[in-house]
Amino acid sequence: MTSSSSDNSRPPLVALVGNPNTGKTSVFNALCGTRQQVGNYPGVTVEKKTGSFDWDGQTIQVVDLPGLYSLNPLSPDEQVATDGILAHAPGMPTPDLLIFVADSTNLKRNLLLYSQIADTQKPVIAVITMMDLLDGEGVQIDIDQLGHCLNIPMAVLTKGDAKQVQQLKNIIGDALDQPPIPTVCLAFEPAIGSMLDDLQHMFPQISRFDARALLFGSQNVRVGDPMLGAMQQKVQALREQADSSNLTPAALVTQRYQWAEAIVQRVEKRSEKALTFSRKLDRILTHRFFGLIIFAAVMFLMFQSIYTWAVPFMDLIETGISTLSDVVGSSLAARPLLASIMVDGMIAGVGSVIVFLPQIVILFLFVAVLEDSGYLSRAAFLMDKLLGWTGLNGRAFIPMLSSFACAVPGIMAARVMPDPKARMATILVSPLMSCSARLPVYILLISAFIEPRFGASWAAVTLFAMHGIGLLIALPIAWILNKGILKTPDMPFILELPVYRLPNWTNVVFRAYEAGKKFTVRAGTVIFAFSIIIWALSYFPRPDHIADDIRAQAQSQDALLIDQQIAGAYLEQSYLGTAGKAIQPIFGPLGFDWKITVGILGAFPAREVILSTLGIIYQIGEADEESDDLKQRMAAESWPDGSQVFTPLVAIVLMIFFALCSQCMSTLITVQRELNSWKWAGFLFTYMTALAYLLSLVTYQGGKALGLG
């Protein structure tokens, strides 16, 4: 294996390349089994799948490049794959062999990419997949003839055929051992080659790929913008020369297809068949009426399962966390500071985040099944028009809908969007969807202040309105982000609708596992650090005299009541409490007193924390949304002039504030990680807080002017 491996110190590297939906991942899994890892390419959130297998006593490394349609890349995925093929990819050595994966049912279009790859003159072999679907499509393919036409080694892979896997490994191993076979390149290549030579001769600093992209590419190239005047002139002259020889980019594509057509005619026999099962199924699933009904049902099921299936696991985690808190708290009872930092800081902080793990795993199981089966692109087809005017496309639907359960998996699900700017816009509006963590806040306020006065129907209407407000606002915000701030280019929405098939279960489980792992690691690091900061702000300073004074003045002998009073007093004089009082004037115009303000500040890590913070302030110990004590204390709360703090109007304003604000550390950290930018996480926090404040202000002042409240 020395002849083709440029560097003997590392094992040979083979790269899987091919169109999306060709079963590339299945080939990868068949080769590597569980010997695989998922990482990221540096600087982009494109997943990098690597693995290895043993052949003839040697280890062969495999990288599964993202699917692509052409070497004129349009998305970050395609850019990474193109770079990988042309050996530009950051953090990745040059592959010693390319394995071209082709879908046998769609040979002609697959051959277009092959012809571009062949032109790069890299060593390549081919694997033909989906042969089991050929019968249903009424197609016959002569594999030997195809190998003969392309003059490269060729393998076939059907799911679950171990013998074919071994044959493929043998072909890979043999190809690595032998000097590379020169690939057949198309007739127009020599003419193009001389033009590329010409350009590179004048400007040695540009690479072959960039030269090609300058002359024949469909988009701008990154060769030091603005282009030097001399280079621009030369490029212009060469382009005119190319045009006059009918070598325009579009004409080249046509010529490639003529070449592919000639091969297909020699190797493929196609008889007109009745509709395949997949096409019959698609008739229903994309039907303008039934398609929408089924889509709604699928989304409902997904949403419902995130809500309900996760509950037992979340309960289990919560029980575990509270048991751990109790054990740690009682074993450290002699050292209250250490106990508090462990229990109220670390365990509570990380616990409040890790509790979302079941939801994330379930959502990713769903997303993987939907994507693998081919349904996701149908969902995008159905929903595209609804989102198109905002500059998003149909694919944004899944992240946005998932965010109704929890923004964290929703933001991660935005990876299904190929355009980086549209993906960014989706990530930045998804947290506006009303997630399940807002629910306890709504339930507390509605059941305390809306339901008793206006009845159950209005309570339900309020709850529904709170869920609708985020979606209503998200679409115009997405429009502003796309058109005004990010300047998202109008991307063509050209989406393949692949044949339906059963999901690859290994892949489905693996993706859910990877998503869960990433999330857990994050909870253990950044969120851990933030939790301690928030804890410290609500704990310090802690002068002993406050507790002593309360004990001295206590009229009751109830130890629990005294402890609650002490906790409340400490929170009030903590840095957080002091800050709450100091900035209360800002929240005054919204109708909030200093206690609500402290509740909002303390809820920075997670919205539902406002319940326990209010519980401490109102001195009723452990509080949740069902807590009648908390409701009574809140209802009794009054301003110095004797008027009630919590009118129905204030309750609604507070709900609107929580519907729109970004009080969720996990969301901010996830955004930071997914966009690799604290700036955008900061932007998200700022715009959502401003939006929450403004809308709350308008509601409160408007409500007061109308005599409500």
Partner: protein, 78 residues
């Protein structure tokens, strides 16, 4: 006429692509090449995008792309 004016179910042959369309290359690469057989299968519930069959596979494109694809019908109706 262009692809977007076909009736759902109708088949046609591609005559040429609007040379100035920004997605000209990608549309060509996806199989929209003059002479190819093409079928408009259906339109999405809100009128857009279109589900199209070309080169024996299916994909969806928006009206703005479909309007750049000039065709001559091979069947008058669905």
């Amino acid at each position: 006429m262009t692809l977007d004016s076909l009736v759902p179910g109708q088949s046609a042959r591609i005559t040429y692509l609007e040379p100035s369309h920004p997605s000209l290359i990608r549309l060509s690469e996806m199989g929209f090449i003059s002479g190819q057989h093409i079928q408009l299968i259906r339109k999405a519930p809100l009128g857009e995008p279109f589900k199209v069959r070309v080169m024996n596979y299916e994909l969806c494109i928006r009206k703005s792309e479909a309007a750049a694809i000039h065709v001559e019908p091979v069947s008058l109706t669905a």
